[in-house]
């Protein structure tokens, strides 16, 4: 069963996932851009996999190309689930 999608839950998932990719935890915020965090397309592919595994929400290439900030990613997942 996929977990229930709430903005808080998704934010927690994302914030916990990013440090695994080598992101400095103290720099993570909703407004931080993936560019600033040195999160690239391969990291986003991994993040998408974690999201899909947890919430059953698929993020594909076009979606991922549009998101610029941590907040964008969280909002996209929440909107897709809705």
């Amino acid at each position: 069963m996929a977990a229930t999608v709430t903005p808080e839950a998704v934010e927690k998932t994302v914030v916990e996932a990013l440090p695994q990719f080598g992101v400095d935890e103290s720099q993570i915020s909703r407004d931080a851009t993936f560019e600033e965090l040195d999160v690239d397309s391969l990291d986003l592919a991994e993040l998408s996999q974690i999201i899909e595994d947890e919430y059953g929400v698929q993020l594909k290439g076009d979606d991922v190309g549009k998101i610029k900030t941590v907040g964008d990613a969280i909002d996209l997942v929440v909107s897709r689930a809705g």
Binding site: Q20, F21, G22, D38, L42, A45, E46, Q49, E52, D53
Partner: protein, 396 residues
């Protein structure tokens, strides 16, 4: 070789530790990096050298190559600035298998959790060219880069091909070598199934009781430059790659020809390329795997090409068989040994085998008394598939 190719920096990660000098000095002292029948690079802690992100983005075999390349480039004086147009600096790192650890881990994930659990990083980490890509990116080297893949001859092929790139004018300098990280359950089981591994877990090349090779892991990287260009920039020249010879047995997938076959051809080609005769060679760094077949065939090949007077030893006695990294690790150790005019030892050599009667430098290093001659050495590498690649290294 029509243009002189010199080596200005070397680096290594091996079962004897991190660092080329560590490798050579410990081998010369008769120390072994083999424990419990395996030559693991236990001193290598990736995060001491690489960021979390770099570690995640590289299979262990690429990590080894990156760290060895840092050492080689630093020694060459390339650390702060590459002294060439980076578009003309090539990267060529050989491997026998590539990122098999990544492959196995993701295959397991797929079987246990389904295809969606497979990491998007799987392919970029496991591909055989990943180490070359990682080294090229790490140092911003924008000349051509790819991997050579010829089992246990891969690194020697890489180094020889690198020299040719400079000679033909395709590159001004090349960062080259080999890397392997195959101490995995599948690779170990597969070599064991071939009956290639030592049951006793002891690497004893040329000894009558040798019973197969001991697996090892690691990497070595060398910086190759054209001689005049290197001297112009005031580089410290460690050695000259005087010649390179390669051949194929065209005989059997795993066994060498009993009469030395293609190995003879490769050694002769390397000497001819260097413009040297058998009498010039003062030391042979043997492929010396500790398998019954290799050590006998290689002994026959060496005798055919050089006679029976030259000291011959095997680094694999101290670190095991580093497969696609072996040719580079052994070339690096040979260079440092020739600079000291030393023949490092074949460890664990106790029982002479019938017909294997070369001077294998048993158990203790020996000073080479070469009366002011150049130290000219051959470093042999032979691979499954019948691939033979030999480097002729010279230290003035």
């Amino acid at each position: 070789m029509n243009r002189e190719i010199v080596i200005t920096g070397v680096g290594a990660v091996t079962p004897l530790g991190v660092g080329a000098r560590t490798l050579y000095e410990r081998w010369r002292a008769g120390e072994s990096g083999i424990a419990d029948g395996v030559g693991a690079a236990t001193d290598f802690e990736p995060t001491e050298h690489l960021t979390v992100k770099q570690v995640r983005r590289a299979d262990r075999f690429s990590q080894f190559a990156m760290v060895a390349s840092d050492e080689a480039l630093e020694e060459a004086g390339w650390k702060d600035e590459i002294p060439y147009d980076v578009d003309r600096v090539a990267t060529l790192i050989g491997t026998g298998i590539g990122g098999i650890g990544t492959l196995e881990a993701n295959h397991k994930l797929m079987l246990e959790k389904g295809p969606k659990a497979v990491s998007p990083l799987s392919i970029p980490l496991l591909m055989g060219n990943a180490a070359s890509a990682a080294v090229s990116m790490r140092h911003g080297l924008r000349g051509q880069s790819f991997a050579t893949l010829s089992a246990c001859a891969a690194a020697a092929h890489a180094i020889g091909t690198a020299a040719r790139m400079i000679q033909t004018g395709d590159a001004d300098a090349v960062v080259t070598g080999g890397s392997e990280a195959a101490l995995t359950p599948l690779a170990t089981a597969a070599f064991a199934a071939l009956d290639a591994l030592s049951d006793t877990g002891v690497s004893r090349p040329f000894d009558a009781q040798r019973d197969g090779f001991v697996m090892g892991e690691g990497a070595a990287v060398l910086v190759l430059e054209e001689g005049d260009r290197a001297r112009e920039r005031g580089a410290n020249i460690l050695a000259t790659l005087a010649g390179y010879g390669a051949s194929s047995d065209a005989f059997h997938l795993t066994a060498p020809e009993k009469d030395g076959g293609g190995a003879v051809e490769a050694m002769q080609n390397a000497l001819k390329d260097a413009g040297y005769g058998p009498q010039d060679v003062v030391y042979v760094n043997a492929h010396g795997t500790s398998t019954p077949l290799n050590d006998r065939a290689e002994t026959i090949a060496i005798k055919k090409v050089l006679g029976d007077g030259v000291p011959v030893s095997s680094l694999k006695s101290a670190i095991g068989h580093l497969l696609g990294a072996a040719g580079a690790v052994e070339a690096v150790a040979t260079i440092l040994a020739m600079r000291d005019r030393v023949a490092p030892p074949t460890l664990n050599y106790e029982h002479p085998d019938e017909g294997l009667d070369l001077d294998y430098v048993p158990n203790e290093a020996r000073t080479l008394d070469i009366n002011g001659k150049k130290a000219v050495a051959l470093s042999n590498a032979f691979g499954f598939g019948g691939h033979n690649a030999v480097l002729c290294l010279e230290v003035a």
